[in-house]
Every structure is written in C-alpha cells, then in structure tokens.
C-alpha cells in the first residue's frame, strides 16, 4: 500500500450559499491530492501527459460525512491499496482542522494512450517507483 498526505486550504470560490464547500469541488481536491501523492514519489502527471499518456477518470464515489468550511486547512490522506495495472484506484480521506474525518472518496482512473485512445500499461518509470509498495 502506498500512502501520502496533502493539505489544501478551502477557497471562497469553492463555497456555496449553504456555507459549505460545494459537493462538486471535492473532485478537484482529489485531483490535487493524487497529483501531489505522485509528486512525492518523483512522478508528475504533467510528464505522463508529455509521454502521450492521459489518465481519464472512469468511476468516482464520494461520501460527505460533514461539511468542509471556508478557509479550513484540510488534510487529505491518499492511499493506493492495490498494485496498478491498466487501471489505478485512489482512496481519499479528508480531515478538517480539528482532525475530524469529514469525507471519504475513491476514484478509478485508466492509463490511456492519447494517440490511439486505447488503454495501456503505466509507463516503466511509474511502475518502478510504485512496485516496492505492493
């Protein structure tokens, strides 16, 4: 299992008139958290795209336990629990400033060759770095 942590501060633009973070904005929190989790391994999603590989999202599941509020510094714990193949699943747990678990999510992504539009294996560099965790 690979586990990492990222912090994100809630922006005003991300709140809605219910005074909560709008439910659709968690997806971009997930995105930041998974990109940072890869960066901590020395991998950047930007380089992946430069290599002609894109990672579209296939499935997403979210549980909203308690609202996230404006200006809170959220902690997002990302875990990859299974060895990635042509797909990779990220799990997210979000904690608020009082360290209360307020949100759980998971996202399934594919590795896709941008030219052919077909699923592909993660690049060598990617596999090399992640394999030791599984």
């Amino acid at each position: 299992m690979y586990k990492s942590e990222t912090h994100i501060r809630v922006r005003y633009s991300e709140t809605d008139q219910m005074q909560y973070v709008y439910y659709g904005n968690y997806a971009s929190y997930y995105e930041v958290a998974r990109v940072e989790s890869l960066r901590q391994l020395g991998l950047t999603y930007k380089e992946l795209e430069a290599m002609g590989i894109i990672m579209p999202v296939l499935e997403n599941h979210s549980e909203f336990l308690s609202p996230a509020l404006y200006d809170e510094l959220l902690k997002i714990v990302v875990t990859i629990r299974e060895k990635p193949s042509v797909r990779i699943k990220f799990h997210y747990e979000i904690f608020n400033e009082k360290d209360k678990l307020i949100h759980r999510g998971e996202t399934l992504l594919a590795f896709v060759n941008q030219k052919t539009g077909r699923p592909c294996r993660p690049p060598e560099a990617f596999q090399k770095v992640l394999i030791p965790y599984f």
Copy 2:
C-alpha cells in the same frame, strides 16, 4: 417512479486540457438536472431553502463511460425510483448529441432543517406532488 429530462450545453469553462469535460463538473450538471426535474413538478429548490430546508448531498457515485465534449448539447435523464423519506436519491443518465449514453450517476441527498441542522421530512407541498409517482 418519476422521470424527467433536461438539456445542458457544455461550456468552454467546463472542459480541461484533455479536451473532455472535467470530471468534477458533472456534479453541477446533476444539480441543474435535479433542480429542473423538480421545477417541472412545480417545486423550486429556492423555495425549499426559503422555507428553512436545505438539501446537502450525502453520497455521490459517477461512471464515466465516454467523454462529453465542448459545445455538445447533452440530454440528462433524471429518475427518482423510490419514494423520498428524509432522504432522496436521484439517478442520472447523460446522452450526447448522437444519443449515446456517456455517463451514469446517482446522488443521495438529505432534507435538513437549516436552523437545527437535523434531518427532517420533506415539506407537505413536496410530498403531495411526488407521491402520485410511487
């Protein structure tokens, strides 16, 4: 079962550099579609809030079958399959301009009394309009 249809045109702001609609933007498509499905019944979410009731999202699930593209006029079919209680679940099916099913989603929401922060039953008016469908 209650079923309704809404159309939404993809905005440029909703695309990302993969040239797809960003996966986080489907949540706001769901929101528009469920609000319009209620409006077709003579109910507006705005009035609900004016009555002191908010409807936070508890759970969300999305399946991305094929990408939605810029400027496409999407058709969103919304169904409510079970009689709402203190919770209500909306199902969404999104079709592109070629009438291909490209996305499936579902969202579970609660009725919450804004003052007390506690779950509550949907208001009379709401129940009266929806009950004939179940």
Copy 3:
C-alpha cells in the same frame, strides 16, 4: 453594431457563502453569452477551433453593480460595437429577473492561429456574416 441576447439561470455551484454569484463566475457567463451571440449569426466557436483558430482573452473588465442570486434567470445583452480586426471586443450587460441592470463587462479577444501561435484575421465566413452590422 451587432446586438444579441442570451438567458442563463444561476446554478447553485456558482453561488458562494456570501449568497451571491461568485465574482469569478461572470467570466463563464460572458463566454456563454458571446458564444450564443455568434451562434445566432450561424457561427460556432467550435467550428472556429476546428479551423485551427483559437480566441484567447487578452483583457477583461467587470463592474459588479448588484449581486446576482441563486436560480435567477439572467438576461445578458451582448454587443459588438466595432468591426472586428485581429481583435474583437464584446460588451455585456446583465439584467436580473426584475430587469434591473446588475452587471457590466467587456472582454477583448484575439484571433490566433493555433499552429503558429500568431494573431490572424478572422476567417472569411466570420467576416462575411459580421460586416453588414458595421
């Protein structure tokens, strides 16, 4: 002068905890309004991009006179006041449901050849349709 009108209903996702439309979301209202104003002339921005021309924004100016509120059906009046050259300026006036002017904006865009990255003239089709208005 070319003048057109578009209607946009405020989404919940576009509000913030001040209970107003977040000031950054007017840019996407402008985008929808100018794209629709061109569509009313038989031009689509999508086709323009298919022809290898992109229209990045160079300048934007906004005046927030009164807040736009959730679920309001806004009317956006778009005008092009000067004959477009390698640049084109759109003016926007936004009216709320009571027909009160609540917002004024203007956006200067360039025509750019996507391959070379250099400014270019608007395509023939574009000029032909717009010239009669100036």
Copy 4:
C-alpha cells in the same frame, strides 16, 4: 504601500481545452492571493465575516499577457497602493516558473456591513495593521 507574495500551483480543473488556465479562474487566484496577503498581516477574511463584515467585489480588471499552464507554480505579487477607506484596491502581478510576468490584474472591493447591506469603514484591527504601510 503594502506588498506580499503567494504561490499557487495550477490545477488540472483550472485548464481548458486551449491548454491554458481558463480566463475566469484568475479571479480565484486573486482571491487566494489577497486572502493570504492579509493573513501575512495577521488578518483573516474569515474573522472579518465573523465580525459581520463582507467584502464584495465592485470592479475587476485583468490583462492576460501570456497563458498560465497546467502544474506551473505561479508567483502572485499582491500590492495595496493606497490607504484603504470604505473601499480597498488590490493589484496583482502573476509570474510563471521562469519568472516571466504573464498576467496583471486589479480588484476593487468594498467593506459592507452584512446586516444593513451598507458600506462601512474597515474594522479597527484592520486599520491598525495596515496604516503603518501608508
């Protein structure tokens, strides 16, 4: 004059299919930058709202000199050039990773008493901290 610096990394959600940061997303960069510039003075916008004061935006002006790209770590220099009264103007300069100036913006905000909806002076604490700079 008061001057401060903030760094923001471009999110995938903020790009559009032109492969640039969507022009409407700069507004939220401004927001983050001005909130952080106040935080560096010991002031938080969150506390301001807790005191019953909101700061709606009255005017916004943006110049897009060069595009911001995915994953770039942008530097935003915020300056307040005039002593705030019932209004306060923030200037922004955004630099990309090569330290090239790519964007200039300014935003005029009001101090408003949330209850009365009327303009008001900035609170004591706010004035005390800022006055030494003018």
